[in-house]
Assembly symmetry: C3
Homo-oligomer: 341 residues x 3
Amino acid sequence: MPRLGMTLEEIRDLIGSGEIIGAADFRCESVASLNQAGADQLSFIKDERYVDQARASKAGALLVPHPMDELDTNQLVVSDPYRCFGLLLGRISEQSQRQPRGVHPQAVVHESARLGQDVTIGAGAVIREETVIGDRSVLYANVYLGQRSVVGAENVIYPGVVIREDTTIGDRVVIHGGSVIGADGYGFVQHEGRHIKVPQVGGILIGDDVEIGALTTIDRATLDRTIIGCGTKVGDQCHIAHNCKIGENVLLLPMVAVSGSVTVGDGAVLAGRSGTADNLRIGAGAVLGGTAVAFKDVPDGATMWGNPAREKGTELRIQAALGRLPEMQRDLRKIKKKLDL
Amino acid sequence: MPRLGMTLEEIRDLIGSGEIIGAADFRCESVASLNQAGADQLSFIKDERYVDQARASKAGALLVPHPMDELDTNQLVVSDPYRCFGLLLGRISEQSQRQPRGVHPQAVVHESARLGQDVTIGAGAVIREETVIGDRSVLYANVYLGQRSVVGAENVIYPGVVIREDTTIGDRVVIHGGSVIGADGYGFVQHEGRHIKVPQVGGILIGDDVEIGALTTIDRATLDRTIIGCGTKVGDQCHIAHNCKIGENVLLLPMVAVSGSVTVGDGAVLAGRSGTADNLRIGAGAVLGGTAVAFKDVPDGATMWGNPAREKGTELRIQAALGRLPEMQRDLRKIKKKLDL
Amino acid sequence: MPRLGMTLEEIRDLIGSGEIIGAADFRCESVASLNQAGADQLSFIKDERYVDQARASKAGALLVPHPMDELDTNQLVVSDPYRCFGLLLGRISEQSQRQPRGVHPQAVVHESARLGQDVTIGAGAVIREETVIGDRSVLYANVYLGQRSVVGAENVIYPGVVIREDTTIGDRVVIHGGSVIGADGYGFVQHEGRHIKVPQVGGILIGDDVEIGALTTIDRATLDRTIIGCGTKVGDQCHIAHNCKIGENVLLLPMVAVSGSVTVGDGAVLAGRSGTADNLRIGAGAVLGGTAVAFKDVPDGATMWGNPAREKGTELRIQAALGRLPEMQRDLRKIKKKLDL
């Protein structure tokens, strides 16, 4: 149960504006969705589509976009209830994860590592030679930070994350549990029937405000740097291969696979389990639908579906026609018979 | 080599019934499959289909469903050889994993954690504030258990598993190496071209007798709880997104992806690498074939194949017709020519 | 920036042959790709296709396959520039990962473990009972090596890797961060509506010169051994299920899924995110294209594309025809009208 423990008045003060309908001193013990909320909980109405659910809700208080006269629930009227609710969630999240600052005595920090102010390092974390960790960053238990890697300020690196050597990470980056940043890319050349490794000696550059899900792999470049642009959000279990250049504010949903040396433009969206062949360019603002796989370049702003990915309208027409394919086959047989073919 | 070290008589006593043909004091040193078994090993015949393989087998002894007069091997006749063999495997498994009980001196257990009787905690495991671990549970090396999380009795949590804060796990649950339970779900809202995180403050509830494979991610709910029902078995590298409600006795085979807020009914089977779009309902007892992806609700008991998933018979007819598509195209050309179209 | 710090003459001596054009004492501080290289960097020309890029490159020196008179850059002419460049990368890689030898005081090594000469074990690694580690092997921080497992000589096991009990690994094997070797295979039998675990008591055998990417799972056999043949290279986030026999010099690119009891022949190539149903045989030298999924045996040397996988030529014809499917449907309607069907 996500604990809040604030009155409506305190909530309004935190948000900075809003009109209270009902009891300003009503105390919201915690938050919940409309369906699940009980008499001491706060919920919210995202927009008009949720009004019916709100009527049926047992929530003690609601964030609403305008006064809802038909409800006798306590209300706080705000311009963007979803965003305001998110603000409250942020506060709850912060409190629920609060922990002791400082370096745990069972962390292993090399003497050459440079730590900023108020850094937190959990038990079993291993911080190698010549690393740098910025102010207020939190590295949880059993994180590994390789030689010469640099982590910016206000990062949150969850337990078990492996960051290999020569990785550079910006500020306010979040990396969820168990992800591996900087493993060798898949590079082999054939020589007399055997596969010889091409050493992967490049690095990785992750911009500010990036979030990376759990158990994701981002491989180091062969020579230069694999790049994740600022503000990009990567889901769980994604794979970003060596030498990729992912733009800014890109969305890679869970289980997306970006193959080697692919460029993804700013603001592109790769939906769940979509992917690309290698050496492609996915345009700025382009969209790959869920499980779509691009085998060719995708133009800026295009929306592609299917595997192989086609322009969305084309793919939808093909899928509709596919449903009638057995019938088409029967028709053809009849026609051939009729025409003696 | 999985060591057994029991005579046929001891095996019969362990199973509780069965008729011995041959030497009751024949000692089965270990177990193996029919093909691999040698003169001091025990194997088994699942059913009639394996009789020919049994004839060619060099196994010193066999579990059989009825006397096999044509074989001169030692036999133990039992009503369900497969299940009885499984019983022996369980005994072997237990012995091969036996380890010292107690908390390893290099585990890091917070003073506020409450541990049941005969709990085992491996080196490097980190047990945070206000956690609870039930009787006889085993947490291997380098496991992380976050604040306020509760693990029931007789769990086995393999090395490197990360369980984030506010997770509740039932009894007799197995979680394989490196899985991450309770990472933040993928929730962002766009605001002036940037992606703003929706804090994920909900929890996770995992029922009794659940097994979770290696390197699987189960994300915490945004507000309420992501739920895995009792008796459900999840394979390696699955992804269960935030807010999902997975029913009881569901099978999720390896690499399955269940997107956000999906409900999966009791007894459903999602075969290898199948998946769903978000906000769907997969019915009780429904089956998704290997690599099938549901983009719409699936009714109770339906069997769906393909991507996008279609009713199995339909998909098979489409696939059959697809094989003849180039030929259909040639036919059409001929017809159009003949008809002057 | 991958540091090199060698003169062209020193590089020629390291390679063992080659003709220098320009300054033999030119010092290459580091290496880079043609596009990125600067005045103090070395790059290379793989073959004739890169000559134009070479002309535009700012590299201070180049490895070239023959004298390039039109360039005024310093050149080292060698018979196979790509392979020679790889040799230099290997040297850089070795230097950039160099670390203290020996067992870290915060590693947990059981007294019954047998360690070869010059073994390196990182902080937080846990080495269990009756294990063996060969000469010069490096186990990074937080690696787990289960009971009775054997690691050969000159292995590199990156941070957080979990190797369960009774695993045998050859020489010169590399396993990247977080991979889990030897988790239980997915084996359950149904009994009165519930799923009963089939204990997985077999082992794993990994041959010499195998490389395994990050966050990959290889499951232990039910009874015998899951086998990965010598020289096989497995990418990130692959899943190899129980009882598989993967041949020698096989390539499994990232995110490949090989289902239970599959045999893959020597020299086969499974491209990115391809996969197989269970109990199949993928022939020697066979190729599965990117995202192709085999639901039937694949003959030796065959190249299969698509899901379900078909012979490549067939699949290409089907995909081409699919693009015209909506048009075919319109044609059919016209024909039926004309023929009064």
